[in-house]
Assembly symmetry: C2
Homo-oligomer: 199 residues x 2
């Protein structure tokens, strides 16, 4: 069955959302045009407004409305520690863990030459300028534990080392609360290799 033009365009537009397939997009479109019209108008407005207002922090590239994000503008954050992550969602996750008081640098992706994502796209030039400025004592490489994330971490490690700054990589291992039985072999191997002495 063919949808009318405006409906088909809406379904197609909704498919651009992450994790939304053709059936899910159709369900969303019907919901928005059926009972969800106030919510749909609200979404149009919120999305248009966010597109207009939300840009990137000029220091760490985090999504923000001002020129500096809340973390970079915060006077109590430790300016000597810089945590490099792939995406804004990673910043949110680390902030929620509550264990970090330094600043961030958000790559907005990882090295992926086939997709045309090189150091330039990840803001490595701006990052290097911050490293050159002095003041940063340690860089924590918190890219994802994927092939691309590891490659990106390795690339950044060389950059950080060239500036004479300490670099560290987040620990890979068994998730807290998990069961060894269900952990994959690669993670277990990392957990064993990275074992820590009990004191």
């Amino acid at each position: 069955m063919k949808h009318s033009a405006a409906l088909a365009a809406l379904i197609e537009a909704l498919r651009a959302l992450p994790g939304v397939g053709p059936k899910g997009a159709q369900r969303m479109a019907f919901h928005l045009l059926q009972d969800g019209r106030p919510a749909a108008r609200n979404l149009v407005q919120a999305l248009a407004q966010a597109l207009e207002r939300v840009g990137r922090c000029e220091r760490c590239r985090m999504l923000t409305e001002g020129s500096l994000c809340a973390i970079c503008a915060h006077p109590q954050r430790d300016v000597g520690t810089l945590c490099i992550v792939e995406s804004p969602a990673d910043v949110v996750a680390i902030e929620q863990s509550g264990g970090y008081r330094g600043r961030y640098f958000v790559l907005m992706g990882h090295l992926s030459p086939l997709d045309g994502v090189g150091p330039e796209q990840l803001g490595v030039r701006e990052l290097d300028a911050q490293l050159a400025d002095g003041g940063i004592r340690e860089v924590i490489l918190a890219t994802n534990p994927t092939v691309e994330g590891e490659a990106t971490a390795h690339f950044l490690y060389e950059l950080v080392r060239a500036r004479g700054i300490t670099a560290s990589r987040i620990a890979h291992g068994v998730p807290v609360g998990g069961e060894l039985e269900y952990v994959d072999g690669g993670t277990l191997a990392h957990a064993l290799a990275g074992r820590q002495a009990l004191t």
Copy 2:
């Protein structure tokens, strides 16, 4: 971590989409504002346009851009058979099955007195007017096999019978391609009760 106002508003607006929780909404928002800006602008436009253009078919209440939907306007559809469904997605599903050539009536919901959804909200008055018009020989009650769907079908059955028109209910039974072992008891009981003689 607190999001900026425009970002928080966007995440909240995305949560109105069916099947989208707080984490999913945040992921969508970040995606739309990060790499997905062209897609986001497209979504704003498509949604605004659909809200403006897509209304309901004045005959069957299906979502459509004109005054009549493509099915109601189609000269080859059997006007003697009317299939009553809960939602536009059901129309799409039945059309894709390819086994139906009659018309539809879309309730846009089911009877749910606690939510304030009575016969009036489901367009029962318009439906009854169509039944009174004559020309309809059979009404197929294709509401969902849920408690509310069954109650709605029962209510409509009385209405259809009062007009002297044949009413039928879609068959409940074992899904084609399914395995008996994994079918729930209620469905199996229906499948047994509704068994058909082999000829």
